[in-house]
Each structure stands twice: as structure tokens, then as C-alpha cells.
Amino acid sequence: MNRWDDAPLLVDLERKAALRLRGADLRGAILAWQGEVLAARVNVDGDETKVSLYTVRE
């Protein structure tokens, strides 16, 4: 079982591959993934939202 505080795991069912993300603290973030781009949303103090965009490299 993946630990709740472990690095997020992106599962690509089409390729039957899973990627464990390194290089950013994404705990608690809502993620959106399209191709090589990953977006992460983190609420800050409830009245502000930070959206970070990353490139994903295997």
C-alpha cells in the first residue's frame, strides 16, 4: 500500500507504467496530468491558490 505521505504515483494504464514523482513536494496537492506536463494545485490559507506547472521526465 502506498503510504499516505509518500511521493505521488502517476499510473498510466495505457502504457501500464507508474511513475513516482521526485523533485517537488506535492503532498496534499490536487494534480492534473497531460502528457509531459503536470499541474499541481495547493491552497494557501484558504484564500489563495498556487498552481505550479512541471515537466515530467522519466
Binding site: 502506498n2 495505457e14 502528457g35 494557501v44 498552481v51
Partner: protein, 380 residues
């Protein structure tokens, strides 16, 4: 010769034998317990899970064994003391079988179906940019190539619409109000706007200078949009008035949209229906304690709803399964190419220490249902 007339030597020998027997029995029982690991090689993991759940959720069996052991130990007869030792060993064995350590070692997910293991590899992230949006966001959307994003800001519980913030160019934000929103490509978005008691589906360019009305439809609960790179759009939601999951599918190139309804009133147990032309999945699960759970799924939406048909009478007996309730349903997909793979995960709540997972995956369009694939990390 009666026991009363036996010599002190014979009595001492007899007592010594029983003590030796007792002294050997407990370690032997512990050795047998420790050898339960070998049993796992011969017993399927699913029955092991069932037995473990029964043991963990039937503490009365453990208490009864301990009580029996205490009663037998208080009796003067040697055979009773042997019985007490056996009861103690059985109680320890039951406690071990009911432990989470036993389940982790010998059991497996009750709802997982056989599937290939998915290898996990490392991926590094490099930040491209970070954008601050005023307000708390509840949803995050990303354009097909990742050039733009949109977030839905928090709305009241009864709000039919949400305020969306769309990044129309790197660092440039635009606000709009809509029931739902989805990216079509890097320049256009699909927007469902409320129009009094109806809803209007539009394709809108980022600059807002041009928009095309695609369809007029009733207000739906749990509405979701999808835009396919091949030029197909889709609206999904639950029509409370009709009591049906509604799927409307059309083309940006024109033509009459096609509507399909999946009634939630239909009877059926463990029925999985796939409509290949509409890329929709309707799955019904007849579950203890929850007469009928139906999941209407599109590539992004899973909406559980309960049938209104009359609930079955409660069962007189209880099993570990009777305490399961589907607490949430999640759906994942990777929306870069078609056909789009999707997976449905049901997370059940029960007295089991960690959530039990059930996953179904399917590729659309197509009739085939794939068996579950579990990330290798899940088994660690």
C-alpha cells in the same frame, strides 16, 4: 490399584510425566503457530483473508477459548490442564490469524481481480512556472498539451455554477462563470452555462470574441464535460427529473447530438454495460447493506447513485462483507490520446484497518473490460 493406594513414588512419577507433557505442549503449540507461514503456501490468499476477517471481527471466539482455558486450568485433573494448554494455544493462534500482520502476509485484497503488476519507475519534476490565483480552488483542469490550466473556485453547496479562473496565456488569468468547463485544445474551451432552468453548451475561444452554441439541455447533477481531440464533445450528468444518467454526444463539425439515457431504476445485479459508441460505462453492484449501487462513468465522471427500488430484507446472519459500504468512487484517466483508458476505483469503508480497494479498468471505445492492474507499490 486405586490412585489412593498408589505409592508416593508412582504418584511423583505420574505428576512428573504430566508436567513434562504440559511443558512440552505449550512450546509445541507455539512452534505450530510459527509454522502457519508454511500453510500460506498451500492455502489461497482469498480464503486466508476471509478467515482472518472472521477472526478479527469475532472477538467472542477468542474470549470463549481463553475462558475455557481458565476453567480447565482450575480443574485438578491432568487432562483438564492439557485441555487448558490447548485452548490457550488455540486462542493465541486465533489472535494471530485475526491480526493485520497475518492479512498482510497471507491475505490479499478482497475486491482485486487478477491483473498484471505495473512497474513503478522514478520521474523527476522540473517546475515551469507558478501562478497565484485569488481564492480557494476545488478543481484543476489542464489543457491537452499542458499549455493552460483552469481552476474552479469554491462555491456554496447549493450553487449550480462556479467561478472559473482560466489561464489563457502564461501568467494571464481570465474569470468566467459556468456550470462546467473543459479544454478543447490550446485555444478553445467547452463551457456549460446556466440559462434559467436550462443549460447551454458552448465552444468558446480564449479571447471570448467568438463562441458557438452547441446544444441546449436540462440542468444536470454531477455534470461533466469532455472534449475529444478528434472533434467530439460529450456532456454527462444525472437528470433528477427523469431519474437517469444522461449522456449527450456531438461533433464540433455540426450534426444532431445524440442523447442516451441509462435509467437508474433498472433492476440488475452486478451488471456491467458498456456502450462503445458513447464511451460510457454503467456498472451496478448489488452489495450487502446497499441494495444497488450504480456507477455511471464517462472518461472523467463517476457518479454513484442509489436505486429507489425497495431495499431487500436484512439478512439474519452477518458476515464481514455486511459491514462494507462504498464510501467514495474515483475515476482516473489519461486524456492525451483516444481511446482513453479509464479506471474506476471503489473505496470501501469497513472495520478493516486499511481501506479495501476495488478497481475496474476499461478502454473506450470498446466492449472489453480489462482486469485490474495494481501498481507494484501497492503490494509493498
Amino acid at each position: 490399584m486405586s490412585p489412593a493406594s498408589s505409592s508416593p513414588l508412582e504418584s511423583a512419577v505420574s505428576r512428573t510425566r504430566s508436567e513434562i507433557l504440559l511443558a512440552a505442549l505449550v512450546p509445541f503449540g507455539l512452534v505450530m503457530l510459527s509454522s502457519l507461514g508454511a500453510v500460506g503456501a498451500f492455502v489461497s490468499s482469498l480464503p486466508a483473508m476471509h478467515v482472518s476477517l472472521w477472526a478479527s471481527e469475532t472477538p467472542s471466539a477468542f474470549v470463549a477459548l481463553v475462558a475455557t482455558g481458565v476453567v480447565l486450568a482450575s480443574l485438578p485433573r491432568t487432562t483438564a490442564r492439557i485441555g487448558a494448554a490447548l485452548a490457550l494455544v488455540a486462542a493465541l493462534g486465533l489472535a494471530f490469524i485475526g491480526s493485520s500482520a497475518f492479512r498482510e502476509r497471507f491475505g490479499r485484497d478482497l475486491f482485486a481481480s487478477p491483473g498484471t503488476s505495473i512497474p513503478v519507475s522514478e520521474a523527476s519534476l522540473t517546475r515551469i512556472r507558478e501562478v497565484t490565483v485569488p481564492g480557494g480552488a476545488t478543481r484543476l483542469l489542464l489543457s491537452p498539451r499542458g499549455g493552460s490550466f483552469a481552476v474552479a473556485l469554491e462555491a456554496g453547496d447549493n450553487a449550480r455554477e462556479s467561478d472559473y479562473v482560466v489561464e489563457t496565456a502564461p501568467g494571464r488569468l481570465s474569470s468566467m462563470r459556468a456550470v462546467a468547463l473543459e479544454f478543447i485544445d490550446e485555444e478553445r474551451i467547452l463551457v456549460l452555462e446556466r440559462n434559467e432552468d436550462r443549460a447551454m453548451l458552448k465552444a468558446r475561444a480564449f479571447d471570448r470574441e467568438s463562441s458557438v452554441v452547441l446544444h441546449d439541455l436540462p440542468l444536470l447533477a454531477g455534470v461533466d464535460l469532455d472534449a475529444d481531440p478528434s472533434g467530439i464533445w460529450q456532456v454527462t450528468g444525472y437528470d433528477r427529473v427523469e431519474g437517469a444518467l444522461l449522456i449527450v454526444r456531438g461533433s464540433f463539425d455540426g450534426g444532431a447530438p445524440r442523447e442516451t439515457r441509462f435509467s437508474s431504476e433498472e433492476d440488475g445485479s452486478t451488471l456491467v454495460a458498456v456502450s462503445p459508441g458513447l464511451r460510457a460505462l454503467v456498472a451496478r453492484y448489488d452489495m450487502p447493506g446497499l441494495p444497488l449501487l450504480a456507477l455511471g462513468a464517462t472518461p472523467r465522471l463517476v457518479m454513484p447513485f442509489r436505486s429507489t427500488r425497495r431495499a431487500r430484507p436484512r439478512r439474519a446472519w452477518a458476515s464481514p462483507f455486511s459491514r462494507l459500504n462504498a464510501s467514495r468512487a474515483l475515476l482516473w484517466r489519461r486524456a492525451s490520446t483516444a481511446p482513453r483508458p479509464m479506471a474506476v476505483e471503489l473505496v470501501f469503508s469497513c472495520s478493516f484497518p486499511s481501506p479495501l480497494h476495488s478497481r475496474l479498468s476499461a478502454s473506450f471505445p470498446g466492449r472489453s473490460m480489462e482486469t485490474t492492474s495494481r501498481p507494484a507499490a501497492d503490494s509493498s
